[in-house]
């Protein structure tokens, strides 16, 4: 695939970012669902008010982002070896960790150990995919 190398790079970036957005959206959705259920039985009328409405919105948005990331990913797999491309997807862990701790809707508490673990994963990704050539199929 010498024709348009930027397509591969664009598809990879899109997969990484959309996959992180998808995870954060699904988590926000599940969190709101938990809130909605904490108030007892869920009635259909509750769909128009925040916890359940937000649960539906975030879960749907998360699934859409996830679906789009899968399509972008197929475009990646046409161009690159699986063993080269797959470790790069782990870059979305960093985005998820940053989003989960910085986005007020989730407000997860960062701990030094999780931060170090996440950085270690990043180092592993760098070693696995940023060395040894691009390895198109």
């Amino acid at each position: 695939m010498t024709r348009a190398p930027w397509i591969g790079a664009a598809a990879l970036s899109a997969s990484i970012v959309l996959s992180a957005l998808g995870q954060l959206g699904m988590k926000a959705g599940m969190q709101n669902l938990k809130l909605a259920r904490a108030g007892g039985e869920i009635a259909w009328s509750a769909l128009s008010t925040p916890p359940l409405r937000d649960a539906v919105f975030f879960t749907t948005a998360g699934l859409v982002a996830y679906g789009l990331s899968l399509l972008a990913w197929l475009a990646v797999l046409v161009r690159y070896r699986l063993s080269y491309a797959y470790p790069l997807l782990a870059l979305s862990y960093v985005l998820v960790y940053a989003g989960a701790t910085q986005w007020p809707a989730l407000a997860e508490v960062p701990t030094p150990q999780r931060t170090i673990g996440t950085l270690l994963i990043l180092a592993g990704v760098a070693l696995a995919s940023l060395t040894g050539g691009r390895a198109s199929r």
């Binding site: 197929l74 063993s83 862990y93 998820v96 989960a100 999780r114 673990g117 996440t118």
Partner: protein, 116 residues
């Protein structure tokens, strides 16, 4: 229980990656038109890949319901180990030593995050 669901999700998602790669190589290479892509999505390889990823994702949602995403998400990089092994032994891709070393680092990072 959450850990068991997480493990099953990891296996399904890894299987899906291998099937997606096989499907992309066999059915999508050289295809440009959206209609060709849609037809390819219904090939046995990609259809099975989609079933695996949908089942894995459903399990994943069940896990997210009861666990912090920053804790659960790195577990998914266990799939990195499985996918790397499958790339080498099922797909026959050459895997260099730094690629394996990178996978070990990733596994170390997972262990660290998961033990909190």
């Amino acid at each position: 229980m959450s850990n068991l669901l997480l493990l099953l999700a990891v296996v399904l998602l890894s299987t899906s990656q291998v099937l997606q790669k096989v499907g992309a190589a066999r059915r999508l290479a050289g295809k440009q038109k959206p209609s060709e892509w849609i037809a390819a999505l219904f090939s046995p390889e990609l259809l099975t890949a989609i079933v695996c990823i949908v089942a894995g994702t459903a399990l994943w949602l069940a896990v997210l319901y009861r666990m912090d995403v920053s804790r659960a998400f790195p577990f998914l990089s266990l799939t990195t180990v499985l996918v790397m092994a499958a790339s080498r032994f099922l797909l026959g891709e050459p895997v260099s030593w730094h690629r394996w070393a990178g996978v070990l680092l990733i596994a170390g990072g997972i262990a660290l995050v998961a033990s909190t």
